[in-house]
Amino acid sequence: MNRRRWTAILGCLLAGLLLAWNGQALAQTTIRAVMHAEVKHLDPHWTTADITQVHGYMVFDTLFALDEKGQPQPQMVDTYRLSADKLTYTFTLRDGLKWHDGRPVRAQDAVASIKRWAVKDAAGQKVMARAASLEAVNDKTFVLKLKESYGLTIRALAKEFSYVPFILPERLAVQDPSKAFEGDVIGSGPFMFAAKEWVPGAKTVYLKFNDYVPRKEPASYFAGGKRVNVDRVEFVVIPDQSTAVAALEKGEVDYLQRPHMDQWPLLRRNANIGMYRADVSQMQIHPNHLHPPFDNLKARQALMVMANQEDYLRAIAGDPQNFRTCYSFLGCGGWLETDAGSDLLKKPDLERAKQLLAEAGYKGEKIVVMAPSDFATINAASLTTAALLRKIGVNVDLQAMDWGTLTSRRPVKDPPSKNPAGWHIFHTTSGYAAVKEPWGHANISTACEKAWFGWPCSARATKALEELGNMTAGTDAFKKGLVEYHAALMENIPYVPLGEFFSMAAYRTDRLANILETPHAVLWNVVKK
């Protein structure tokens, strides 16, 4: 072989090597995002997992959506009409709505989806419990007839947290919601799910849906025009927080949905990284209302007067700029904020807690506190509770476990004395989106046997919430109803609210712009520079 041929071969090899080394040179516009969890479930009506709702917002669309003022706005719906007697809603879908397989979105799809969603969702159940019929009139119009008026109907259809009323194709929506739907993940949202590229635990890929017709209004929170400015979005799984932060610093990823608080100072120091407050979470102590001592109101009051929110929040979030005290079950800063009846919560007093516990008849029985050691914030709250309980003379049985075990033990109704899986106290958090919508927030239900774990039971609070749902927000009657509801909650103490702490999202400012600051990261509207 002569020298010229060798040179040519060597040149080709070098060019190949360079191309291979910079393999991304020809790549499409892609946002690489590290989300708070991996996408494991594709059916948003099957699970309440936040990440599945994020996936839902990418692939599916909703009839209504909340704007940045918290007001429901039409999304897939073009127009809707409410009859004078407030019993009949007539909805008309927008022109140009298409499924990812090219078929048109029909009213029949919307009807089947609402029915499927309402089997699982508390807000949906409240709508359908009042429904006389829900039927498609033609391909674009469907009608919901109610037996009695319900002021929260549109708000329920605009619900932003689990279960979000996503609209699925009829062939998926008619399937049993107790099972994940079977069939291709076809939505009508701004992104298409790339099934062939899905590697659970590693990567979930979404491609721009070119036929999506956004609304003309500018994007606002979950409402408005969903304009997609990139070719694809990749949710990359990086299990280790330090590695994820290093990947953001190096520019291997563009976005971190929920970096851990410990990493915030490091991220803030980087000039190319921006951060915004993505969510606010409420920490909660859930006592078991079925068994002594917390079947007694005085024992629950002892828990409440024992809990100094500041102590808890420092243990959970450290820096005071990462949290705020909040003496409302319904969140602070929102449309339902009130602290009516929260005197016990505002004035922590360990001596008073001891006294209340004695009045409740507590005689030193073991109190089982479940602590999930793999869930940092909830574990910190659990350990704080255990320490405070010991201070007021409680015989605490602090049981460390993983979150998976805790979630499987909390449905156990038996007392710990009869069943080792039984429990007295666990902690959890709720996002602000849930806290400010008590009609669909399972944790705060006071419906006795039908309530969430802990099974609080208050006819007064349940009735007050129902009545509040039928009132017009902002009116004097509504304000009075709100005070009544909150006072009823404080009287029953379904759980003890421990204040609010923040979640921040981080992104490369040199790469991304126009991010919508929503709790579920939605990546339409975002521009990749």
Binding site: T48, A49, K120, G201, T243, A246
Partner: protein, 313 residues
């Protein structure tokens, strides 16, 4: 030899049977309910029960076991309780990163450790020997996550030479594939290197003190000839055993390395499945690991015949 191999393969069948029964029962006895995990935090007890029924987890254990066995007999490992994807597919997605990391780690460790071990044995008691042993003890003692972060900081963040995380298949380019494997290979390889260097040193040292080595010297064989022609082959058996066990361990999953470098391997698949109580995946990967151990042990046993002619099957 063929009869021996057949006997060994047949002997693995009851082992696999025990593994199937044991793992099936163990994951169900362990606390945790996949339905509650799938349902998510806002789900009501009623919705959890609906999911439980939907997944067939409300059926008696013997019924669930029978369904599992009949599917397994048809080569079906079932579907993930969470993603609903076939377990076989999920395992296949993870095999490539795991095998790639295992092979690169072992290659790195063997290429570095065996010469070091031999030199240490050859120069036993010298400064070189002590230096190699200090290095081996150090390598074995460093936590892999600490070393991993240190390597990321130095080579990715500071020097900007290598990627922080992730895996790129060789099908997407050989160089990106290699670049993504370098840091995890070094972080993990150091442990195996330390282990292999120590085993090699001990084994070679033992052989060098044998009578036949003294005889070789007495016959006038040169030191290099003694080492390469007489000592090394005989010292190979424990080294090969360690390499084999190391390979099986690496296939079984190196969760910390996979987590630090975000490699989507079998180790993370297993740990995630355990945390999520994804019974089908736990059963599938455990069966795979049992099979890998059986095959690797068989291959190691057979390879002894190459190094020691006295061993016959």
């Amino acid at each position: 030899m063929l009869a021996y191999i057949l006997r060994r393969i047949l002997a693995t069948l009851p082992v696999m049977g025990i593994v199937v029964v044991f793992v099936f029962l163990l994951v169900r006895i362990a606390p945790g309910d996949p339905a509650a995990i799938i349902a998510g935090d806002y789900a009501t007890p009623e919705n959890i029960q609906k999911i439980r029924v939907g997944l067939g987890l409300d059926k008696p254990i013997h019924v669930q076991f029978w369904i599992y066995l009949t599917n397994l007999a048809q080569g079906d490992l079932g579907r993930s309780l969470h993603s609903r994807l076939p377990v076989g597919q999920l395992i296949l997605q993870r095999v490539e990163p795991t095998v790639a990391l295992a092979l690169s780690t072992l290659t790195f460790a063997i290429l570095m450790a065996i010469p070091l071990g031999i030199v240490a044995a050859w120069k036993a008691g010298s400064l070189i020997d002590r230096a190699v042993m200090v290095f081996a003890v150090g390598g074995f003692s460093l936590p892999v996550f600490w070393l991993g972060f240190l390597l990321i900081y130095a080579f990715s963040i500071r020097l900007d030479l290598l990627p922080v995380q992730g895996y790129v298949s060789y099908r997407q380019g050989v160089l990106p594939f290699i670049r993504h494997l370098i840091l995890p290979t070094v972080a993990l390889g150091l442990i195996y290197m330390a282990l292999l260097a120590r085993i090699t040193r001990a084994s070679v040292l033992e052989v060098l003190q044998s009578d036949y080595i003294r005889t070789a010297y007495a016959k006038g064989v040169r030191p290099a000839g003694v080492l390469f022609a007489h000592a090394l082959k005989n010292a190979a058996v424990p080294v090969v055993t360690t390499i084999g066990v190391g390979f099986a361990l690496l296939i079984g999953g190196v969760v910390i390395t996979e987590s630090v470098f975000a490699l989507p391997g079998l180790g993370r698949l297993t740990v995630d499945a355990v945390l999520q109580r994804d019974y089908s995946i736990i059963q599938g990967v455990t069966l795979l690991f049992a099979l890998v151990y059986a095959v690797v042990n068989l291959v190691v046993d057979l390879s002894y015949t190459l190094f020691d002619p006295r061993i016959r099957y």
